[in-house]
């Protein structure tokens, strides 16, 4: 039994004898927000994470990738070439700084973060396929120990379970759940985080507090003063970080990952902002002011990091326009590849429900295929929507 576990088993009903009723309040707890580069670009060189020049430049490239990818996806959605899409504009530092700490053997289970999939080898065409409602996207992500959860918070217990397996295997890895502020209200998140705390599982909960769960602002989402404080009730550690500061996020999550690997689950609250709509189906003008959005646009994570790179003399090593051009070309190629996808067959609907097709499902499939052959007018009602 670890020291930590034995600590928890000390009898709890031992008073301190002073006869006073002690009321605990979140206001009594100081919750610092970790920051390295301030909004004005100033920073203390002593606290900059130990990253190589190449890695520092990579952080920038991935952040720009995230932004360009979101822009292009929103554009093709507006052209009718994609289903609903959730942009990550504004959250680049939060997403990239955190994912940059992870190793390939770590599990990455995201809510809103697509570029981390690319960072571990997924292709943009698979991501386009995913958003077009083609199951092969998720299949590709699974090959890289990663998945996207659509049902908010539902993946948190899964991540606890993945971490449990890692613990049993004594694996040199952690399981991460990327969640949003809204997910911290879900029952699944409570149970999943609690389980990780109870069993000291190597689970890292990275919460992107992007201020809104569709229309609900975070201060109405919960009575907690910060989301980080919620972790304490589960008996796990917490870090709060400025999610607009990519170096601070990297530093915080790297620290968290080390603790997690040593058997202490950690909850990281990354304070950021979703500049675009929740998804392309949402109209954020109904619930937030333009002025607020503008203020956060001025707090742009990419701009802030650019000023750091300039101060470090690294900006000259970066050709921003060339990076954007490369990503645009990659996107163009991915879109072309996604568009080339062969027409899909009805059998795919049935193929992966069970490992072995049960007799009744075989019967349904055969009957439906026979019907399609018998009644070609069925296709008047069937649009395969290869472009979502």
């Amino acid at each position: 039994m670890s020291d930590r576990a034995s600590d928890r088993r000390v009898p709890s009903a031992v008073g301190n004898g002073d006869g006073e009723v002690a009321v605990l309040s979140q206001a009594d707890l100081a919750v610092p927000t970790h920051q390295i580069v301030e909004p004005d670009g100033s920073y203390d060189p002593e606290v900059v994470p130990d990253l190589s020049e190449e890695e520092l430049c990579d952080l920038y490239r991935w952040m720009v990738t995230d932004r360009v990818f979101s822009r292009r996806m929103v554009n093709i959605q507006r052209r009718g070439e994609l289903g609903t899409f959730g942009s990550t504009r504004g959250q680049e530092a939060s997403i990239i700084g955190s994912a940059f700490t992870l190793e390939p053997q770590d599990w990455l289970y995201v809510g809103r973060a697509w570029t981390p999939m690319f960072m571990r080898g997924a292709s943009m065409d698979d991501m386009i396929r995913f958003w077009r409602g083609i199951e092969e996207g998720q299949q590709a992500f699974a090959k890289q120990n990663s998945q996207i959860a659509i049902s908010i918070g539902s993946h948190v217990p899964l991540v606890a379970g993945l971490a449990w397996g890692m613990q049993l295997d004594d694996a040199d890895a952690v399981a991460t759940a990327y969640i949003g502020d809204g997910a911290t209200s879900t029952g699944a998140a409570h149970e999943g985080i609690n389980l990780a705390g109870a069993l000291s599982l190597p689970a890292l909960f990275f919460c992107q507090n992007n201020q809104y769960a569709i229309s609900m602002p975070v201060d109405e989402q919960t009575g907690a003063k910060t989301l980080a404080q919620k972790a304490l009730a589960y008996g796990i550690d917490a870090i709060r970080v400025d999610g607009q500061d990519v170096l601070a996020v990297y530093d915080a999550v790297q620290t968290a990952r080390e603790r997690v690997k040593n058997g202490t689950p950690v909850f990281v609250e990354s304070v950021t902002y979703r500049l675009d709509a929740h998804t392309t189906s949402d109209d954020p003008t109904r619930y937030r002011e333009d002025e607020e959005v503008r203020a956060w646009e001025e707090n742009d994570p990419i701009e802030r990091y650019r000023s750091f790179l300039k101060s470090e003399g690294l900006w000259s090593q970066i050709d921003h326009d060339a990076i954007v051009e490369d990503i645009e070309a990659e996107f163009d190629a991915a879109l072309a590849a996604a568009n080339e996808m062969a027409e899909r067959q009805v059998a795919e609907i049935f193929a992966h429900v069970y490992e072995e097709l049960p007799p009744e499902l075989s019967r349904q499939q055969e009957a439906f295929e026979a019907l399609l052959e018998k009644r070609p007018e069925m296709y008047d009602h069937i649009e395969q929507r290869p472009k979502g």
């Binding site: 609903t84 918070g153 609900m216 109904r286 609907i349 049935f350 009644r375």
Partner: protein, 321 residues
């Protein structure tokens, strides 16, 4: 006034909130945003933030909270944004909402409505397209209502809010805006538990509900078959009598539903027709249903949905013996 289904939902909510100040509307994004489908538009402005409330993202708390509020004497109308998000709250429906009357011998009750858009065909993401009314109809003590027209939507939702028992009100989002008709002004109630005969006919009975009604009617209208079309409207309690009487007249029956075939509502209808009208049947009852698969993602969901040709094929099978 001419209205779509989603406008009819809004109209019913306006009417009931005006009529009864115990009616409280809540759920994710229902207040400030007016609901992701705008079903609760303008309610916040008219009735204020005590009665139209955005909740945290908590399906269990929304349904469990509605149950507690109803036990206390309010008439909550809770929205679950998509029916695919309802499963976390299944426990609250099974364990509390549906049982509180039984548990307390009527001392406490849960007169509440959980509204939720259901079904495929709107190009949504995973977990947004399910049609699991059969699973919810399996819960004793819970009523399950599925309208298919704007006028019925207003009348059935009004009746659901006034109903003394918990009601799951499943709204066919695929036809939220594609069907428009005159809906009655002012007070309009359609009783729960009564099916509607949409077309009278003598050759075959076709039973459906919700989003399946337009393709069913299209299939019937485009054929030479003299079909009687029944819109079940309430899945639980089910109006067996209207269906059985129709089958006694026609001798043949087709059930059309979007949810999975196995143990779907169609299975129960077949059993009840066997109970009530077996000796009148001239052919096996046909089911045209969703497959026992996950609803495919948006690129292939049209393959899953019963469209008019599949329904016509089912009718022809029922007539072939």
């Amino acid at each position: 006034m001419q209205a779509t289904i989603v406008q009819a939902v809004n109209d019913a909510l306006h009417g009931e909130m005006e009529r009864d100040d115990r009616v409280v509307v809540f759920g994710e994004d229902v207040a400030e945003s007016g609901g992701v489908f705008r079903a609760t538009d303008d309610l916040l402005e008219e009735f204020g933030s005590d009665r139209v409330v955005d909740t945290p993202l908590s399906e269990i708390a929304i349904v469990g909270g509605a149950t507690g509020m109803a036990m206390y004497g309010y008439r909550p109308v809770a929205e679950i944004q998509f029916s695919g998000f309802l499963p976390p709250a299944f426990d609250q429906l099974v364990t509390n909402a549906s049982r509180i009357r039984w548990r307390t011998r009527g001392e406490l009750t849960a007169p509440m409505v959980v509204r939720t858009p259901y079904g495929a065909g709107v190009r949504a993401l995973e977990h947004h397209s399910e049609s699991l009314e059969g699973a919810y109809a399996h819960i004793p003590g819970l009523k399950v209502v599925v309208p298919s027209t704007p006028a019925d939507t207003k009348g059935l939702l009004t009746a659901s809010i006034r109903d003394p028992d918990p009601v799951l009100f499943m709204e066919p989002k695929r036809i939220y805006r594609s069907v428009r008709e005159e809906i009655p002004e002012g007070d309009h109630e359609v009783p729960l538990g009564e099916a509607a005969v949409r077309r009278e006919g003598a050759d075959v009975t076709v039973v459906g509900w919700g989003a399946m009604m337009p393709p069913t009617l299209e299939a019937v209208d485009d054929s030479d078959v003299d079909a009687e079309v029944i819109d079940l409207r309430t899945i639980s309690p089910m109006d067996t009598e209207t269906v059985a009487e129709s089958v006694k007249k026609t001798g043949r029956c087709v059930v059309v539903h979007e949810g999975p075939r196995t143990l779907g509502v169609g299975s129960e209808l077949v059993a009840r027709i066997n109970d009530e009208a077996l000796m009148y049947l001239e052919a096996p009852i046909e089911r045209v249903a969703g497959f026992d698969t996950q609803v495919p993602l948006l690129s292939m969901e049209d393959f899953y949905l019963p469209h008019p040709p599949r329904i016509r094929d089912g009718i022809e099978r029922a007539l072939s013996d």
